[in-house]
Amino acid sequence: MRMLINVPETVVADALRGLAAAHPELTVDVERRVVVRRDAPVAGKVALVSGGGSGHEPLHAGFVGPGMLDAACPGEVFTSPVPDQMVRAAAAVDSGAGVLFVVKNYTGDVLNFEMAAELAEDEGVRVAKVLVDDDVAVTDSLYTAGRRGTGATLFVEKLAGAAAEEGAPLERVEAVARRVVERSRSFGVALSACSTPAKGGPTFDLPPGELEFGVGIHGEPGRERRAMMTSGEIAEAAVDAVLDDLRPADPVLLLVNGMGGTPLLELYGFNAEVRRVLAERRVPVARTLVGNYVTSLDMAGASVTLCAADEELLRLWDAPVRTPALRWGR
């Protein structure tokens, strides 16, 4: 497998060096793997800390900055970070107003963030946690580790981040985050496997003419394999899977997310089909974001995330954000 890397062992450290070089507005501790907005801790502000395995860029480090995360903890590729990182991040960003951990629902992330929360609280930091579990592909969640956290993470980080930036106290910020989780659902497909540096090649073989249906963002196979579908058919299946679980009473925020290897040209075309289907299902769309935001290295494929946005969430969405990967408003 050909990758633009030095050696598999240093990919995360190399990326953090490159992130630091490109973004002077971030403080990057390459050694300890913590990315912090430069002006942290912001007096009186609740801080948001997230993290997870690397390989999903720009998530999470690309979302550090005013209006979104205060710190991110990147783990090894597809491996949740260790508690030490989160404790250090919490200490670096806590102004005394408390810290919200945004955790994607994977066993590894959950366990490591839990340990970190205990340790941080021992050090006197008030910690709240929100678990993101939006992936409707995982249906029988009683018999699994629960629904996975995928695209909705972006919504949680943006909306709770905006609430924190407005000065909301920890309980409010946590409540916003929870509301976003409750109101968000995702579904994804993969048209190819991704290649991890550790494995040095594709994480699974996909026979020609097939696709993986209902995938996560870790290069794992999907819930089922299906015969290749058109963009329009995939949009129908994905939107309907989401709407089966989420009957939005409000206009939605729509994220049409690329897994990394699908060209933007195709992603925009897919957005057209998703919008067509949503219109047919009479779901009004308030805001749309199209791009590679929650990726799975070079996996080809896409996911659809909807968040039923009440007026407050819409206002928080439109609030200014200033991070490497998401940026608007003042």
Binding site: E76, S80, V82, N112, Y143, T144
Partner: protein, 199 residues
């Protein structure tokens, strides 16, 4: 009786075994997971072996607790906190004793395994490391060899199971037919233990 030095050699043997088998573990994890289990444990046990070589605690309890802490702060993923808790809990259970017999080791590891169950919420049959760990600690009161073969048997027995915990559970039916990577690495732990004990 097994002392601190024995525990250090055990952990070093695990590091060697995990390093040797990393490719296979990753391969298994790539079938029903995210292809990192080998790299995860290699990173963790290399760090453990290095730390123990530098500053070896005097007691077996001290060694296992230190190893567990080191795993927690270097591995990440699901296996980091779980294996870390296994060893940390077992180490705490052993307390300050300068040496321990096989029975004592079995009791301490049983406490560790119970802690893993509480932390991860899995039970035997969920296709996780517990499927190897649980029969192995039970058999350890018999002999090191029995523990090793129980672990290996337990790991093999995960093949026909449908995963209900961890990342493999997302695959539903498609997790059937593959051996669980964590159960496989657990068997390496007990193979290393037998190896060091018989040496």
């Amino acid at each position: 009786m097994y002392d601190g030095d024995f525990a250090v050699r055990w952990m070093a043997a695990v590091a060697v075994a995990v390093d040797r088998e990393a490719g296979r573990l990753t391969e298994l994890d790539s079938a029903i997971g995210d292809a990192d289990h080998g790299a995860n444990l290699r990173r963790g046990f290399t760090a453990v072996a290095e730390a123990l070589a530098k500053e070896p605690p005097a007691t077996p309890g001290g060694v296992l607790a230190a190893a567990g802490r080191r795993l927690i702060s270097t591995v990440g993923g699901a296996s980091g906190p779980l294996y870390g808790t296994l060893l940390r809990r077992a180490g705490k259970e052993l307390g300050e004793e300068p040496a321990v017999d096989r029975e004592g080791l079995a009791r301490a590891l049983a406490a560790g395994v119970a802690a893993v169950g509480r932390l991860g919420g899995a039970v035997v049959g969920d296709k996780t490391m517990l499927d190897a760990l649980t029969p192995a600690v039970a058999a350890l009161s018999e002999s090191f060899a029995a523990a090793r073969s129980a672990a290996e048997e337990g790991a093999r027995a995960t093949v026909p199971l449908r995963a209900r915990k961890g990342r493999a559970s997302y695959l539903g039916e498609r997790s059937i037919g593959h051996q669980d990577p964590g159960a496989t690495s657990s068997a390496l732990l007990f193979a290393a233990l037998e190896e060091v004990a018989e040496a």
